[in-house]
């Protein structure tokens, strides 16, 4: 006998753990940026290329997970969190991985040389961006606990604290970005103009990774506010 049981078909698949797994993959992709930049500064392009390949793989994996989750979220699903917010959060998460890969791709393609004196600030800046992404992951990882308590009480305060810390981390990357831009501005006349242009662009995208991480936190806050 085949049973189309009303009770078992009542339960849809929870989007929360796929969303968290997606973010885990995104973070592991972004974290590789540190390795990549270190290799690039050392002009070890073989190693850099290896890291880039791994980042590509992870980015593809995140893409596939994103697509799968989207397909499993029909409109008829009744969830404690808004479907639109959830999907926005997902695409925001996905863009973090995309942009991280873009940074590595751009630097690898041009065999970009970081000007003297900028190496250390650059590593610091990238680390700060990655840190923001990790913090966003930490907040997303609280979603299952939030569901457990039904999105009220102390757990909400706890997550809001995490988001506040995330905002602070993003502020710090903004500050580092300003400093690094200023240093670059002082040297740009001595650099080939095209190289300088692309350097500015890479710095821009590294900042964007932190921005996107912050906006993932912002979306999470929207979910809580409902």
């Amino acid at each position: 006998m085949v049973f189309n049981n009303p009770l078992s078909s009542l339960f849809g698949k929870s989007p929360i753990s796929p969303l968290q797994s997606h973010m885990t993959v995104v973070v592991s992709c972004t974290e590789l940026l540190c390795d990549f930049v270190t290799a690039a500064i050392a002009a070890d392009w073989q190693q850099a290329s290896n890291v880039f390949d791994r980042m590509s793989e992870l980015e593809h994996e995140a893409d596939a997970m994103k697509r799968k989750l989207r397909l499993h979220l029909p409109k008829s699903l009744f969830m404690p969190i808004d479907r639109t917010d959830l999907l926005n959060m997902l695409s925001q998460q996905d863009r973090i991985a995309n942009r991280s890969k873009d940074i590595a791709g751009l630097m690898l393609g041009r065999k970009m040389v970081i000007p003297q004196g900028l190496e250390q600030p650059m590593i610091e800046f990238v680390s700060a961006s990655v840190e923001a992404c990790r913090q966003a992951h930490k907040a997303i990882n609280e979603l299952d606990e939030l569901l457990e308590v039904g999105f009220i009480g102390k757990e909400v305060d706890f997550v809001e604290n995490l988001i506040r810390e995330l905002d602070a981390l993003e502020d710090r990357t903004d500050q580092l970005e300003q400093e690094i831009r200023h240093s670059l501005f002082e040297q740009e006349k001595n650099l080939p103009p095209i190289d300088a242009m692309f350097l500015y662009q890479v710095i821009d995208i590294i900042g964007e990774v932190a921005d996107l991480s912050q906006s993932v936190g912002g979306k999470l806050q929207l979910l809580l506010a409902r």
Partner: protein, 424 residues
């Protein structure tokens, strides 16, 4: 009645066979829904669930199944209209059993969601209104039954919503939810014990007490129920004290250990659910059977006849048989699909549904346990307690009503004329 003298034995045997078949269907199919929530949340293994279901379905059927059986037996059809033609009632009830059983089997094979309650009510209304006359049906009663089908999921939803809200406030949002759970949960256990004991004494055992000459006032019943509630609470406290926090599980989810405490509570609510289900759904099978036996034995339709107890017993046996032969399989399937339901939610849904069903059993209203449980789960969902619920199922349930009522009725009419032609 020469017909009953000649064929009485055969008619009773037929009714028994069809009645047990219906009860088997209830046990094989419906019980899985009642217990699936406990299996799905991993509070119980399938084996444990079957064990609990066998005991408490049987207890529910035997101790508190009387009122709904009365409704099915003589509430839907007006006995006064039937007094002159008792054989038609016998043919009708046998047809209704056969029709509902056939329809359930067919629907199960095709994978359509149907309710035993709706099939049998549709079948009885069908044969009575077409085969006899529209005035043979007590339409007021039918109206209130249909209304209860809408009200019961809503009520269960409201109860479960409030139960889950109380769990949030009292336990989940507190500083040490694990310790709070151990402190608060015994009170929910008390409620379970009190509720079941109260309904059993007020409604179910009324007849048994009358037979042995015991009369208990409402106050005495309350007192006994209080004592039973406290006993359940004490048993629960002992079980709860054995739950030690598992630090390994806590690393993955900070509430893993709280859920383990709720899993103990779910054993109790599962008992209540099985009891409630037995008290309401066994009537679908034994109600028509009781009507047949009564009429054949006395040769007339009597409004004041009492029901022999072996009939409820037979229904209980049928349910247990269904469970043992097929129910475990269905339960496993249902349980596997509802793993998203954790014990803290499962308990709220089960208790809300069980309370509603037991209440309906006490008032003699045949309702669908499955639909009530669906309403209860949606109630927990409204309290933002469940990750994803498929709302399309509500439409499916309404569709199954629209199809099941006429299908049960149509088949019953067909069988009714068949039996009428066969025996006369």
């Amino acid at each position: 009645m020469t017909l009953f003298a000649e064929y009485g034995q055969i008619l009773i045997i037929l009714a028994c066979v069809f009645g047990v078949f219906m009860a088997w269907g209830v046990g094989a199919n419906d019980v899985a829904n009642a217990m699936g929530t406990s299996v799905g949340s991993r509070a119980l293994s399938v084996k444990q669930a079957i064990f609990i279901a066998m005991i408490f379905e049987f207890a529910g059927a035997y101790l508190a199944g009387g009122e709904v059986t009365e409704t099915i037996r003589k509430g839907i059809i007006d006995p006064a209209v039937m007094a002159g033609q008792p054989e038609l009632l016998v043919f009708g009830m046998i047809s209704a059993l056969l029709a509902a059983g056939t329809w359930l089997l067919l629907a199960s094979i095709m994978g359509w969601p149907v309710s035993t309650t709706h099939s049998i009510v549709g079948a009885i209304v069908g044969f009575a209104s077409v085969g006899i006359s529209a005035s043979a049906v007590d339409w007021d009663k039918v109206g209130s039954i249909v209304a209860s089908w809408v009200v019961s999921p809503l009520l269960a939803g409201a109860l479960s919503y409030m139960l889950f809200r109380s769990v949030q406030r009292l336990i989940l949002t507190q500083d040490d939810p694990f310790m709070r759970a151990k402190k608060i949960i015994p009170f929910y256990m008390f409620a379970v014990g009190f509720l079941i004991a109260m309904v059993t004494m007020l409604k179910g055992l009324k007849h048994v007490f009358k037979d042995v000459g015991i009369h208990l006032s409402f106050g005495q019943c309350t007192l006994i129920a209080l004592v039973i509630g406290l006993a359940v609470m004490a048993l629960g406290t002992v079980l709860l004290s054995r739950v030690k926090p598992d630090l390994e599980a806590e690393r993955v989810n900070r509430f893993a250990n709280v859920e383990r405490v709720f899993a103990i509570l779910m054993v109790f609510t599962a008992c209540a659910m099985a009891f409630a289900h037995g008290s309401n759904d066994v009537a679908n099978a034994v109600g028509p059977l009781a009507a047949v036996v009564n009429v054949v034995k006395s040769g007339a339709v009597e409004a004041k006849s009492t029901m022999p107890h072996w009939i409820l017993l037979l229904g209980g046996v049928g349910i247990v048989l269904g469970l043992a032969t097929y129910g475990f399989k269905v339960m496993g399937t249902v349980g596997k699909k509802i793993t998203e339901l954790t014990p803290s939610r499962g308990f709220a849904a089960e208790l809300g549904a069980a309370a509603t069903v037991v209440l309906a059993s006490g008032t003699g209203l045949p309702i669908s346990t499955t639909h009530t449980l669906v309403g209860a789960v949606l109630g927990v969902g409204l309290a933002r307690g469940i990750a994803a619920l498929n709302l399309r199922i509500i439409g499916t349930i309404f569709m199954s009503w629209l199809v099941t009522l006429p299908a049960g009725a149509g088949l019953a009419i067909l069988f009714f004329y068949f039996f009428k032609g066969l025996f006369s």
